[in-house]
Each structure stands twice: as C-alpha cells, then as structure tokens.
C-alpha cells in the first residue's frame, strides 16, 4: 500500500515538479511570479486537445505544435504585457499575469462552456507488476518524460554556455547588460521557455484527466506549494518540492481523508511560509520589501 501510494505520488509529483520548475525559470530570470501559469499549463493541454480530437492530427506533432505555440505566447506576454509596465509598482506584474491567465481561462470556457472534455488515451502501455506493486503505463510515460526533460534542463543550465549566460543574468542583470547580453530578449526567451515547459506538463496530464477550464487554478497552487516547499527560487528545490508534494497528497488522501488531497497544497503553503519561509532546502532569506 505504502509503496503503491509512493509510486503514484511520484508520478503526480513529477508533473508538479515540472510546473514548479517552469514557474521558477520565469521567476529567477525576471523576478515575476507568474500567477497565470496554471492556465498556461492548461493552455498546452487544450492546444493538444484541439489538434488531436477536433482536427484529428497525430499526437506527437500536435504536442510539438502546442508547445511551440505556448513558447510564442510566452514571448508575446513578455514583450507585449510585462515589459510595458516594468516601470510601475511590482504588484502590477502579479495582476498582469493573473489577468492573462483569466483571459486564457475565459477563452477555453467560452469555447467549451461547462463541459468536461475526455481526451483519448494516447499511449497504451501495459502496466508493470513488481510483486504487489502496479506501475501503470501512464505513470511510466509521465515520470520518464519528466525525468528526461529535467536531466536535459539541468545539463543545459549547468554545463553549456547558454546555461552560463542564464546563470550570469540570474546573478546580476546589470552585469549581464554590461557584458552585452540583451536582457529584454533574454526575458522573452525565459518567458517562452517557462510557458513551453508548463505546456509539457499540461500535455502529459491531459490524457489521464478530464479537461475543464478550472483545472488551472489547481495547477497554479500546486506549483506554488512545490516552490515554497523546496525554497522559493531554487531550481532543484522546485523539483524536490514537487515530488514531495505529490507523495504527500497521496498519503494524506489515503491515510487521513480523500478530501484532503485538494487542500494539501494550501496547507503546505500556509505551514511552510509561517514556520520556515525559506523552504526545506532554501537558504535564501525571505524577500523583505
């Protein structure tokens, strides 16, 4: 039982990790916490739904198209909506991102109304049995894809020259400008990357859950909970936080009350921010303003 819960928790957690990581990528690069992210994650899922179910295209090209689309959306948001208000107070960013999220949510809702959309199964991989343990094909696909993505992300971040540039800008934006990095374009790219990564999470979860416009809020809160847990702004922490959150939800749901699954992330946020604001692994001080 415990092992089974852990396995399904980790595969859920892999999604949360990806969402938290994509939030962190944007936050670290631009200091903007993207309150619309849940809806952008869902945007990837709806994109695939449109292409696969409504237009009848094969899954893989559809997925790539949806990711590219969300990348473009990221650039548009950065250029058209965040950059113009950067001189204003910081809370403007939060309002802007949350409003953009609502635009996404309103769009999906006005097209699909209050329906719940089932997505056809994409992969039909038989489950593996390890003793009593059942590992479903979906869990394998999700964990596998996320693992490959994360490995790729951290290799790029820590081992390549692009990663070095990103780290340099994270350290000091002014310094980066001095050595000739176009910070504006950098922000565009990071917004694009953040939304594209979020879209991957949405696409992975689409085949195993029913799609409806309100899913986004849950994604957002879980992303925040994972980030908070791992230490806000830490890339590794976001991943670890996501996995821990996924497992915690499963345990809380199974051993205490299934209703608790929905609010585990709220409780995690409340408890962590009050007791240990720097998160489990974070050492960065809480931002005081």
């Amino acid at each position: 039982m415990l092992m089974q819960l852990t396995v399904s928790g980790l595969s859920q957690g892999a999604i949360y990790a990806l969402i938290a990581l994509s939030l962190t990528v944007v936050f670290r690069a631009t200091t903007v916490v993207n309150f619309g992210h849940g809806d952008f994650v869902l945007g990837g899922a709806f994109g695939v739904y449109v292409l696969v179910v409504m237009l009848g295209l094969p899954f893989l090209p559809s997925a790539i198209a949806a990711i590219a689309l969300m990348f473009a959306c990221g650039i548009l948001i950065s250029r058209g909506f965040i950059d113009p208000i950067k001189a204003g107070p910081h809370i403007g960013f939060a309002m802007m991102s949350i409003s953009l999220g609502y635009i996404f949510r309103g769009t999906t809702r006005s097209i699909w109304g209050r329906e719940v959309l089932p997505m056809p199964r994409v992969f039909d991989i038989p489950p593996i049995f390890v003793g009593d343990l059942v590992i479903t094909g979906d869990a394998m696909i999700i964990s596998g894809t996320v693992a490959i993505l994360l490995a790729g992300f951290f290799v790029v971040f820590y081992k390549t020259s692009i990663g070095k540039v990103i780290q340099a800008v994270y350290q000091s934006e002014r310094g980066a400008t001095l050595i000739g990095i176009n910070v504006k374009r950098f922000h565009d790219m990071m917004w694009g990357a953040g939304l594209a990564m979020g879209a991957v999470a949405g696409i992975l979860i689409a085949p195993i859950s029913l799609l409806h416009p309100d899913l986004g809020a849950g994604f957002l809160i879980r992303g925040f909970a994972a980030m908070t847990l791992g230490g806000f702004g830490s890339l590794g922490g976001a991943v670890a936080g996501g996995l821990i959150l996924g497992v915690t939800e499963q345990y809380a749901g199974a051993y205490i009350n299934t209703a608790l699954i929905d609010i585990t992330s709220y409780l995690v946020i409340l408890v962590v921010l009050v007791v240990r604001p720097s998160g489990l692994f974070g050492k960065r001080a809480v931002v005081r303003v």
Binding site: V33, F35, F81, P84, I85, G88, P89, H90, I91, G92, A94, M95, M96, I98, S99, L100, G101, Y102, I103, R105, G106, T107, T108, R109, S110, I111, G113, R114, P213, A217, I221, F224, A225, T228, F232, A259, D262, I263, S265, Y266, L267, I269, L270, L273, V274, P277, V286, V287, R288, V289
Partner: protein
C-alpha cells in the same frame, strides 16, 4: 532657487460636502427602479464596500494580499451562521460579520508582519481564500456544503428587510457610514501613516511611527469593511454558496480596485459602481466574465495605471485624494 516659481496653491478645503449629494440622490432610486434594478443597485453597494476594503490593503498599504475574497466569504457565512444557529438578529449578525472579518484581517496581517511580503503574501493569502472555500464546502453540518446556507428572515430592529427597497435603505445607510468613517481615517494621521509605509517602511519607522500597528490596523479595518459587505451580500442573496467566494471573485475585486483607482477611496466607489452591473449581464455567457475582467485589468495596467479617478482628478480637484484637513 528663487527663479523657480511655486505652483499656485490648490483651492483649499474644497468642501467635500458635494459628495453627500450622491447618497441623497441615490435615496430616490426606489421611486424609479423595478425590483431587478433595485437588486443590482443593492449589489452595487455591496461591491462598493468590497472595493473600499480591498483598496486599503492593496492600494493604500501597497500589500499584495488576495485574502479579500476570504474576508467577504467569512462575513457572509458568519452572518448566515449567527442568524441560523445563534438566533442573532440581522443588525447583531452584521456586527459579528464585521468582527470576524476583522479577525481574519488580523490573521492576514500577522503573516505580513512576519516578513512574508509581496509574492509570498499573495500566495499565502490566495491559499487562505481557497482553504476557506474548501471549509465552506466540507463543513456540511454547519454550512450545508454546496447546497448553500439559507438565511432566516432578515429583519432590522424588528422591521422586515425582505423587499429590495427595504434592503436598499439599510444598505445605503451602512455604506454611507462605512465610507465616511474610512474617509475620516484616511484624511488623518492614520491614512498618512499607511501611505508612508507603502512608500518606505524604514523611513516611516524613523519618524517614530509604529509601522507594525498600522499594518495590523489596515488589515483589520479592511477585513471588517469587507466582512460587512459580506453580511450585506448574504442579506441580498438570502442564501450563501461556497462558489460565490471562488477565484473568479478574486479577479472581480481586483478589477474594481484597478478600474476605479488603486489607493483612492473615491476610486473604490467608482470601481464598485461601474463594474457591478456588468457581470450580472455576462453571467449568462460562460467565460465572458473572466474575459471581460481580465481584459479590463490588462487595459487599465497598460493605459490607465491610476484608474478612472486619475482622469477625473484632471478635470476637477475634488477628485484628488487629500490626506489632511484644513
């Protein structure tokens, strides 16, 4: 230095009395309005107070707290619960709603005082609001879950408040009193201290002003005002549902503050009035509410960051916020 000519003094002590004309004129509305219109007008007053309260924290204090929806819901549910289970009359339940809203505000201020600011505050208060909604849904024995909790007959000092017109006059009185009280506070050292904290907390402390006390005060006052709005909302709909206090409500409150003008009391009133009637219309089209409020906030952020009131202030100094009395 002598070459620089000082700007002409603003007309002093322009009597704000002109604003009393608004409620006086409003008092005539029942003579013209049908029941549906009257219901909308009543809702306008609910949302004026929602916006007044929210604006204190977000506009005046400059803290990004999303707990407003929670204060609103707590006020509404507290009213229904006190009336249903404790047999409170409406006027007493209203006081209970104000106090419980204020206590929720106190709770939110504790996080802000612990150094949880900006995004952290936004996230923790967002979680608080959603947690409260979960409680409304799952505390079924008390709240009747998603079925909603009906209010017993609403009476004020023994008089029935069932008709929209009766509600209207009670609401109008409450709204005028709360807005006037808030205005009194803002035009005093309290209002200045709150603004000063928004601009620069350290400097404010260096002037001998206890910043912590004013942060607490702002949250508590904001919570009470929105709690009162919740009580009015409950009386207006006569049944409270968890779904009234969800995430869509968050963006509605935001839009009202931003459209009217962040940090402006007059702006709050304008935002509440302008944006209340519309969602009623949009509610019949799924998604339209979200699109409308999302788009309107984006437009304001991009093109009119200080809201409608900043346009009016250009026309007449009456609309310029002043934080002192002479």
């Amino acid at each position: 230095m002598n070459q620089e000519t000082p700007q002409k003094k603003r007309p002093l002590s322009q009597n704000g009395r002109i604003f009393y004309l608004v409620p006086l004129a409003a008092a005539l509305i029942p003579f013209f309005a049908n029941d549906y219109l009257q219901f909308i007008v009543n809702m306008i007053m609910v949302y004026v107070l929602v916006t007044v309260g929210f604006n204190l924290v977000i506009g005046n204090l400059g803290q990004l707290a999303f707990a407003n929806t929670a204060f609103f819901g707590i006020g509404a549910y507290m009213t229904a619960i006190l009336m249903t289970y404790a047999g409170f009359t409406y006027e007493l339940a209203l006081v209970g709603a104000a106090i419980s809203g204020g206590l929720a505000g106190l709770l939110a201020s504790v996080t802000a005082l612990r150094g949880i600011r900006l995004y952290y505050l936004a996230i923790i208060t967002l979680a608080f609001g959603e947690l409260m909604r979960w409680v409304y849904i799952h505390a079924e024995p008390v709240t009747m879950g998603t079925d909603g909790l009906p209010l017993p007959d609403v009476t004020v000092f023994g008089m029935s408040m069932h008709s929209e017109t009766a509600k209207f006059y009670v609401f109008l009185l409450i709204t005028v009193l709360v807005v006037k009280g808030t205005s009194n506070l803002l035009k005093s050292r309290v209002g200045r201290a709150i603004l000063a904290i928004r601009d620069n907390e350290l400097t404010t402390a260096s002037l001998g002003i206890s910043t912590a006390n004013y942060i607490i005060l702002t949250f508590v006052w904001s919570g009470s005002v929105v709690g009162i709005a919740g009580a009015m909302f409950a009386a207006s709909t006569e049944r409270v549902f968890p779904e009234s206090f969800g995430l869509t409500e968050v963006i509605v409150h935001f839009a009202m503050v931003m459209v009217g003008g962040a940090g402006s009391l007059i702006g709050s009133v304008i935002g509440g009035v302008v944006l209340t009637a519309l969602p009623e219309y949009f509610r019949q089209f799924p998604g339209m509410e979200e699109l409308f409020f999302g788009a309107i906030i984006i437009a304001v952020l991009l093109f009119l960051p200080k809201g409608l009131v900043s346009l009016l202030a250009k026309v007449s100094p009456l609309f310029r916020e002043r934080y002192f009395r002479e």
